[in-house]
């Protein structure tokens, strides 16, 4: 069975790759495109460590096949900073010590950015419920929630 030849846009760049039907987008990102910033924590959509956005929509890349990316636009953690300039969320996560081991951090950043794009002024509860699909075992979520709320404040110019 020949591999699929997929053309897609990745972090704003035109990208092509080959994949077998069974390979998930997560496997393609990590093993074919060597972008290892997106992590596998469970492979079954329960932990959110593999979060990316697809046509602006927050998804788990382990729950999508690589072949389904044809013609779509994908954003991963590698595209979040612009050159040397970190995204507000990235800066705030560092300032607030919202990461310890950091394995869940790329997923949280992608998920949080997706939230703030839709809801620039979320309550603490809204932040917690939006991020319920991202598991963290190190931080107890406390500083993550603070970092997201502080990012929202700065992005609003408040």
């Amino acid at each position: 069975m020949a591999k699929h030849h997929v053309t897609t846009t990745l972090n704003g760049n035109a990208v092509e790759f080959l994949c077998e039907t069974h390979q998930t987008l997560l496997e393609v990102l990590r093993d074919e495109l060597h972008l290892t910033g997106t992590k596998e924590g469970c492979g079954t959509g329960d932990c959110g460590a593999c979060s990316v956005t697809l046509d602006g929509r927050l998804i788990c890349s382990c729950l999508m096949l690589g072949v389904e990316a044809q013609g779509k636009s994908i954003q991963t953690i590698e595209g979040m900073a612009v050159g040397e300039t970190l995204h507000v969320l990235q800066r705030k996560f560092l300032e607030h010590a919202a990461l310890q081991c950091g394995i869940c951090t790329p997923g949280f950043l992608i998920a949080a950015r997706s939230l703030l794009e839709r809801n620039p002024d979320p309550t603490e509860e809204e932040v917690r419920y939006w991020l319920a699909g991202n598991l963290c075992r190190c931080t107890g979520y406390h500083k993550i929630v603070e970092a997201v709320l502080d990012s929202a404040r700065e992005m609003r110019g408040a």
Partner: protein, 761 residues
């Protein structure tokens, strides 16, 4: 252990601030490299075949069909690993037995748990490796299995080891059993103590095994070259430990294996052992190619050690006015498939926060058909604390005393004896209780179906072997290399301590975690020991560098080195008599290094003692839904004696993390087995760790009673915080509902059953 410079009187410049961590930018941009993120040209994928049975004899393994599959480059079994001597090596509390260890990484005569490794393949793709596993034929003779600790102790229980005679019993038992060891600690006379009690409270408790729940599955990349030199990139808490275990299991010379510390995606004690590293290396040796192995989440749950489940009985005797006169604890812990539960820790820590004249603790280490237990954050102590702190609550209620008052009345102080023979050498516990008593929230009124619970906890913390090397670069910036994998932000703390010691800015110090060839031996990161022990090594190395810098300044000024002091990052003459010279900053001396003797660097190693234990006291408010048994955490306040907070935000983060793990342990986490001894919840869907919406903000109170044995007063902080939550929550549920739950987890069906039954769960 202490250094030449006494910092206790000086004002600290950088210690106590919260700068951004040096590994921060790579972690928020996805560039940090964890175990699964490494690749090498020609790399093969390794996969492991695991037993579908909880207990079975292996009659034969036929790997021929797997070997014949195109793309498969090697298949291995236990035959590819040398046999090991049966011997317990090292201090009893943390002894290892390589006879057990080699069988855990690849089964020999028997499989002892579902998920036990039986064979492994290396192939050119993941899919081919998985297909190859399906082609390996294992002939099993399925045996009856036992999992529950009480059932495993029954005389007719299926035996995991037909020759296991319980250690620690004199005379030794005549028949084998699943009880690997019995331990007993006592002081005073408990019979007399109980006889003098006005009230005696007794209760039995049961806990389920829980997993550390790190989000990163174990992963490694191995490379074994034809000349016998090998490298490993591994996600592990101790790359020196990986080296020690792996060379033993493969029969290699220690110096032939270089282990690189990958960034670690959570560990909490679960990654202080090896599973896949020796297997990957053996596959690499056989194929001549690098081999990468990554566990799936299912494998992590089925095959890696969680902590023990336990069955316990506690008895406490008190006087009417609240003095504890006797305490007795029985602790039966599951070890999993091989001996080595943390039951000794449970026995030693359970009553440790209190000054009780008559104490006895008895512990049993019991094998059963599930993965071998591994360390989990203060291993053993949270389990015994659930039982002890719940019983403490019952005692306080019985005599009508506030639970914090009750603890304060009985707390240990410097000099209080511990049941295991030592004496407390530090203060700090009373201060944590007092901090909560002063907290306005402790007096806040509660609403309908709401309750408040209190608990305390103790953990010894670790010292141990650490090494550090400090290099001064040509421009006066400094590299600090240690051998401690960074799982909580310790790199930043090392840099802070070095910057403080040298008197330079934090951002002129670059801390790294060096591989096993590039820095001296260092024990694993765990036991809350790194900021303490590795911190001392760093400061000691900095002090040697300072001595060297003083000597260089003396050379430049043509005076005696004894007449040069180091202050605020500069060499200065020691008083007017030494001469009038402008201070020489580190940068200036570094620039002149060539002419004054060459490069400036120093190393230090130690086996640190003098560590201080961790004390934590916490209270929480809960609301119980009386119709569903759902428990909501409304408020959580955690006080802890942290010695001195080197990096405040990271210390808070440790407390947040331990408390939330404790909340999960209390409310929903457990292993659910079917009748065949197979795990039915081997994933994050049904192994329920807390999610963001389950929790409020966690309030932390950092009490600082400095440890005089550390140059900056450090006490380990990472672990004591997971010890109280389960009892705090059980006590809060009791306060809310009048029902005492004695089984973990306190999931909704159990809470509702207790509410409906009108008695303990």
């Amino acid at each position: 252990m202490s250094t030449a410079i006494d910092f206790s009187e000086k004002k600290l410049k950088v210690i106590g601030t919260s700068p951004v961590r040096p590994d921060g930018v790579p972690k928020v941009t996805g560039l940090a490299q964890y175990g699964a993120d490494f690749s090498l040209p020609g790399m093969l994928w390794g996969k492991i075949l695991r037993s579908p049975h909880a207990h079975a004899r292996i009659r034969s393994i036929d790997t021929s069909k797997a070997q014949a599959l195109t793309g498969v480059k090697a298949v291995i079994t236990s035959a590819d690993f040398p046999e090991q001597k049966f011997e317990y090596v090292g201090p009893e509390r943390i002894a290892v037995n390589y006879w057990h260890m080699t069988r855990n990484i690849m089964a020999r005569e028997k499989v002892l748990y579902e998920g036990h490794a039986v064979a492994a393949v290396a192939a050119t793709s993941k899919a081919i490796a998985e297909e190859a596993l399906r082609l390996i034929e294992v002939d099993y003779e399925v045996l009856p299995h036992v999992i529950d600790v009480d059932q495993a102790m029954q005389p007719d229980a299926p035996l995991l080891f037909e020759d296991m005679i319980t250690r620690g019993i004199e005379p030794a038992p005549g028949k084998p059993s699943n009880i690997s060891k019995r331990v007993e600690y006592k002081m005073g006379d408990i019979d007399a103590g109980f006889a003098a009690a006005d009230e005696i409270v007794e209760a039995s408790f049961k806990t389920s095994p829980v997993h550390q729940g790190y989000i990163e599955p174990q992963s490694c990349l191995a490379r074994f070259d034809a000349d016998g030199q090998a490298e490993l990139w591994a996600s592990n808490q101790g790359h020196f430990i990986v080296r020690t275990f792996t060379v033993k299991l493969l029969g290699m010379k220690t110096g032939d294996l270089r282990v690189h510390p990958a960034e670690l995606g959570g560990a909490f004690g679960g990654k202080t052992v090896v599973y896949i590293e020796p297997v990957a290396l053996a596959l690499s040796r056989k194929t001549g190619h690098p081999v990468k192995i990554m566990m799936s989440r299912e494998e992590v749950f089925k095959s890696t050690g969680p902590t023990s489940g336990a069955s316990m009985t506690i008895r406490i005797g008190v006087t009417k006015d609240g003095k504890i006169v006797a305490a007795d604890g029985l602790f039966k812990y599951q070890a999993g498939a091989f001996p080595g539960s943390p039951v000794m820790n449970g026995c030693m820590c359970g009553f440790a926060p209190y000054d009780i004249a008559n104490v006895r603790t008895i512990g049993f280490d019991v094998v059963c058909n599930r993965p071998k237990a591994t360390a989990y954050r203060a291993p053993g102590s949270p389990i015994s604390a659930f039982a002890v702190e719940s019983t403490m609550d019952m005692a306080a209620l019985k005599i009508g005393m506030d639970p914090l008052q009750f603890r304060l009345k009985n707390i240990a102080k410097t000099g209080t004896p511990l049941v295991y023979g030592a004496k407390h050498a530090h203060e700090g516990f009373a201060e944590t209780i007092e901090a909560l008593m002063r907290h306005p929230g402790y007096q806040a009124p509660l609403g309908k179906n709401q309750g408040r619970g209190v608990a305390s906890g103790y953990w010894f913390n670790g010292g141990g072997e650490s090494s550090a090397t400090v290099h001064v670069n040509e421009d006066g910036t400094v590299v600090v290399a240690t051998g401690s994998p960074d799982i909580g932000g310790s790199r930043a703390s090392m840099a802070l301590m070095a910057a403080e010691a040298l008197g330079i800015d934090y951002d002129r110090v670059r801390p790294i975690v060096a591989d096993t060839n590039s820095v001296g031996y260092t024990q694993g990161t765990g036991g809350s020991r790194v900021t303490y022990a590795t911190g001392i090594a760093v400061v000691n190395a900095c002090n040697k560098v300072i001595d060297e810098l003083r000597a260089r300044a003396a050379l430049i000024w043509k005076i005696n080195a004894d007449d040069v002091i180091w202050e605020d990052g500069c060499a200065r003459p020691a008083g007017k008599k030494a001469g009038e010279f402008e201070p020489l900053p580190l940068k200036a001396i570094a620039a002149k290094r060539s002419a004054t003797g060459g490069p400036i660097s120093a190393s230090a190693s130690l086996n640190a003692g003098g560590q201080a234990p961790g004390f934590a006291t916490q209270f929480c408010d809960v609301e119980v839904d009386p119709e569903t048994g759902h428990v909501k955490i409304l408020r959580y306040v955690a006080a802890q004696d942290v010695g001195r907070a080197i990096h405040k935000a990271y210390v808070e983060g440790q407390i947040h993390g331990g408390v939330v793990q404790g909340i999960g342990w209390a409310l929903n986490e457990e292993y659910i087995y079917d009748e065949e001894g197979r795990l039915s919840n081997a994933g994050f869907l049904d192994y329920r760790i807390p999610v963001a919406s389950d929790l409020p903000m966690i309030e932390t109170i950092l009490v600082e009673v400095p440890n005089p044995n550390h140059p900056f007063g450090v006490k380990g902080v990472a672990e004591a915080n997971i010890v109280p939550p389960m009892a705090a929550i059980a006590n809060a549920i009791n306060n809310a509902t009048g029902r005492r739950l004695t089984q973990l987890p306190m999931s909704p069906p159990k809470v509702l059953a207790a509410l409906d039954a009108g008695s303990g769960g």
